[in-house]
């Protein structure tokens, strides 16, 4: 282990009553890849923002190379040799890759001199990048390479990566690991935030585990099992999914026949000839890297958007291609969109009013005046039945944590007793316990005879839940195949190249 790069001691940061970080200690040495583990809300992002100068701690000290420092801004952190690769990319969509790299570099513009330096750096680390293309035309992997290269241009002694693999294909993740190994080999310290335990065990030599803002353990992840790490993160044994008992499949509830959809706007993806059937009683998952047409597919199934150029959407046997979301709800469908706040719920509305958003389509909520007794009762039932933890009896949607809000949204739809449930990203940004709860709820729904379609970027989730999996790539959907007949490698191939690899296809 090399010399000590960073020593955090007693870092505390509170937001109101919530202690996001509570006397956190952490050391990082040169040449080390150090994992920071924890559920959502454990305080990882807060700690990293403090280290990158975006937040100031209430107390505690930061030492870099033995010197006590204060980090009032990201510039100050960069000047101390700290680089950051953000979880939700901090890139500028309409700018070229080169411009994106120039922006945080003091005094630089996107000129020939910078280009030469960037190209040299990219060669050294084996990062292939098209520097002149606007970022919105690039894949998630390419975007991340820009972000990494941008951090590397500042010769960081410490590189922080916040859940870097969550948007990558297995191959892209491998390439990332190789780059990180090179970087660590050259003496940089790397802080690697993730909740994918297997990759942490492969890549990292030490792990600090946070729970509820406190450090609960520091360990060598190579010598403990993934289950032990998970137990440390969650506090108790991780909940396992109960597979549904065998049950017969019923009639097809959702059918997509040769569905093609024109792309929406400049950044949209066209859907090409999509075929899929979901029968009552089964769970079908759609896997794939984000941005390959999943949002467009959700929109066209729910009836919220998409210009259908050919083909049909059928729900419960009826052609609903030209009908709106309420007509589809009336046929027994329920929809959980990806965006919890703003689409699934009104952030400032109490949970009882948020009931109206989907219930109005099929239920009577009062003829002239709103039946607030009924909406209140529904909200209470959802909160009880689906274990939604709320700060008050009927809080605003925005006051709930991501996991609890998602439990509410899923529960609200299940209370409508749907025969077809469409869920886009059921556990995106939700902690492990809530994610397991939501998945179990959906499995139970299928066992009771509903058809469930799950669109997920999380391959583990898709494989854990689904009876059959189809993969989205470049706006085309592969044939849905039984999970038991598919290996991870096959799915990885479908995610990167699609069903029938075509040279030059986007």
């Amino acid at each position: 282990m090399g010399p000590e790069r960073i020593r955090l001691s007693g870092i505390t940061k509170a937001f109101g009553a919530l202690k996001a970080n509570d006397h956190v200690d952490l050391t990082l040495h040169a040449g080390e890849i150090h994992a920071l583990l924890g559920e959502n809300g454990a305080g990882k992002s807060t700690l990293m923002k403090i280290l990158y100068g975006l937040l100031r701690p209430d107390s505690g000290e930061i030492r870099i190379n033995g010197q006590r420092v204060s980090l009032p801004s990201p510039q100050a952190a960069r000047a101390q040799g700290i680089g950051m690769v953000f979880q939700h990319f901090s890139l500028f969509e309409d700018f070229t890759a080169l411009e994106n790299i120039a922006i945080p570099l003091d005094g630089r513009i996107a000129d020939a001199a910078l280009r030469a330096e960037v190209e040299a750096k990219a060669r050294h680390f084996g990062l292939a990048i098209a520097l002149d293309r606007p970022v919105h035309t690039l894949s998630a992997g390419e975007r991340q390479r820009i972000e990494i290269l941008r951090a590397l241009m500042q010769e960081p002694q410490v590189l922080i990566l916040d859940e870097p693999t969550s948007v990558l294909t297995p191959d892209e993740a491998e390439a990332l690991f190789a780059t990180l190994d090179t970087l660590a080999g050259e003496g940089a310290g790397i802080l690697f935030i993730s909740h994918k335990l297997e990759e942490v065990r492969r890549l990292c030599s030490r792990a600090t585990i946070l729970r509820g803002g406190k450090v609960v353990a520091e360990t060598d992840p190579r010598i403990v099992s993934a289950a032990e790490l998970a137990a440390l993160m969650v506090g108790e044994g991780v909940l396992d999914l109960r597979p549904a008992a065998d049950h017969a499949l019923g009639e097809p509830m959702l059918r997509l026949d040769g569905l093609s959809v024109a792309p929406e706007g400049v950044h949209g993806v066209a859907l090409r000839d999509i075929n899929l059937t979901v029968q009552a009683g089964e769970v079908v998952a759609i896997a794939g890297v984000a941005g390959n047409g999943q949002s467009e597919l959700y929109a066209v199934i729910s009836g919220e958007g998409g210009r259908v150029t050919s083909g049909q959407v059928r729900i419960a046997g009826q052609d609903v291609t030209r009908r709106d979301i309420n007509a589809r709800r009336a046929l027994g469908a329920a929809f959980v969109p990806e965006a919890r706040l703003g689409q699934a719920t009104l952030p400032q509305g109490p949970l009882s009013e948020n009931v109206i958003l989907s219930w109005h389509a099929t239920e009577s909520l009062g003829r002239w005046l709103l039946d607030t007794v009924r909406t209140g009762a529904v909200a209470r039932r959802v909160i009880e039945r689906f274990d939604v933890r709320t700060p008050s009896a009927d809080p605003q949607a925005a006051q709930l944590s991501g996991g609890n809000l998602q439990k509410y949204v899923v529960g609200r739809e299940i209370e409508r007793k749907p025969r077809l449930m469409i869920v886009d990203q059921p556990s995106w940004g939700v902690d492990a316990r809530a994610a397991t709860h939501i998945r179990q709820t959906l499995l139970d729904l299928a066992a009771e005879g509903a058809a469930v379609l799950v669109i997920s970027q999380d391959l583990d989730e898709a494989m854990a839940m689904a009876d059959r999996i189809a993969v989205m790539h470049g706006g085309h959907l592969s044939a849905a195949r039984p999970v038991s007949a598919l290996s991870r490698a096959e799915i990885g191939l479908l995610m990167t190249q699609g069903e029938s690899p075509v040279r030059g296809a986007a």
């Binding site: 975006l54 990201p74 952190a77 500028f92 969509e93 120039a102 513009i109």
Partner: protein
């Protein structure tokens, strides 16, 4: 043929205030701020500029005062939008209403007073060229300043470090903040620059274009400038083209009123405004929703802390 240089010169004179105001708003919008108060800042610039020119008996000082008055009004807008994170559309509209009232107050004692013209600048040698010499290379100093501003804005936005940061802040203030760019400070500079130019455009109206002050004399030119920025969709050259096109229509309408064209003058008076609607319609029908607009245009920025 003898009329041509004269007509061209009037086209440029009519276009210059639109061009200057639009250049300012263009910079503001590139930084992600929508300031609908251009009309208000313009008319305050016109009234203050005229009053200052009469009081100091210097049109040059008047123009300077007009520009600063526009900037002062934009500082109010900046305070509301950046510090209190108010809705930009509502704040901009309020700014226009306030500006119209304020201008009437400032200009109260100056209605109808005449001002002498500022002596034109002649570029040596070039002003001797037939037709073009009189049309382009002879003009008031603000006209030449506006030409310099085109180059300054185009170069500044696309080639300078500050322009890169300004566009970055406009494209995504979230990303910019995460990288530690001073989002609010950069937007403040952009808003003040927009106000300075709107005020300058207003002073140009009262001191060079009409050479008298009357309430409401900006007559919707601030709104046309805003439409030009939309029409330009992020390209300075389209903004320049649009401004001169509108200048041309304005002059054509004046000639029509003199009976030179066989169309009712009311129709031609309405033409610049109809063209504005047509340009906006064309842009939205051409299907590229929000094409060319900065990514976080009009959204209030509130960092967590």
């Amino acid at each position: 043929m003898e009329m041509l240089p004269f007509i061209l010169a009037t086209v440029f004179t009519a276009a210059t205030p639109l061009l200057i105001a639009a250049l300012g708003e263009h910079v503001t919008e590139r930084a992600g701020v929508l300031n609908l108060g251009v009309e208000g800042m313009m008319i305050v610039g016109a009234a203050t500029g005229f009053a200052a020119a009469v009081l100091t008996d210097s049109s040059v000082l008047g123009i300077l005062a007009g520009a600063l008055a526009g900037m002062a009004l934009s500082a109010v807008f900046a305070l509301m939008v950046l510090v209190f994170a108010t809705n930009q559309v509502a704040t901009g509209l309020a700014l226009t209403i306030m500006g119209l009232g304020l201008a009437g107050l400032i200009g109260q004692g100056f209605v109808g007073q005449p001002r002498a013209a500022i002596p034109p600048v002649k570029i040596p040698l070039l002003s001797e060229i037939p037709v073009l010499g009189k049309a382009i290379f002879t003009g008031d100093f603000v006209f030449f300043l506006s030409l310099a501003l085109i180059g300054f804005v185009a170069w500044g936005l696309n080639r300078s470090r500050f322009g890169l940061l300004l566009r970055a802040v406009g494209e995504s203030h979230g990303s910019a903040h995460a990288l530690g760019l001073p989002v609010k400070r950069i937007r403040l500079v952009a808003i003040l620059f927009g106000g300075l130019l709107a005020g300058l455009a207003g002073a140009y109206l009262s001191l060079i274009y009409t050479r008298f002050w009357s309430p409401g004399m900006s007559a919707g030119r601030g709104w046309i400038a805003l439409a030009l920025v939309v029409f330009a969709a992020g390209h300075v050259w389209r903004l320049v083209l649009g401004a001169y096109l509108f200048g041309g229509i304005t002059v054509a309408q004046l000639h029509a009123q003199a009976g030179a064209i066989g169309l009712p003058s009311q129709f031609l008076s309405a033409l610049p405004y109809l063209m504005t609607i047509a340009a906006l319609l064309f842009l939205s029908i051409s299907g590229r929703k929000g094409a060319g607009a900065a990514g976080s245009l009009g959204q209030p920025f509130v960092p967590e802390r």
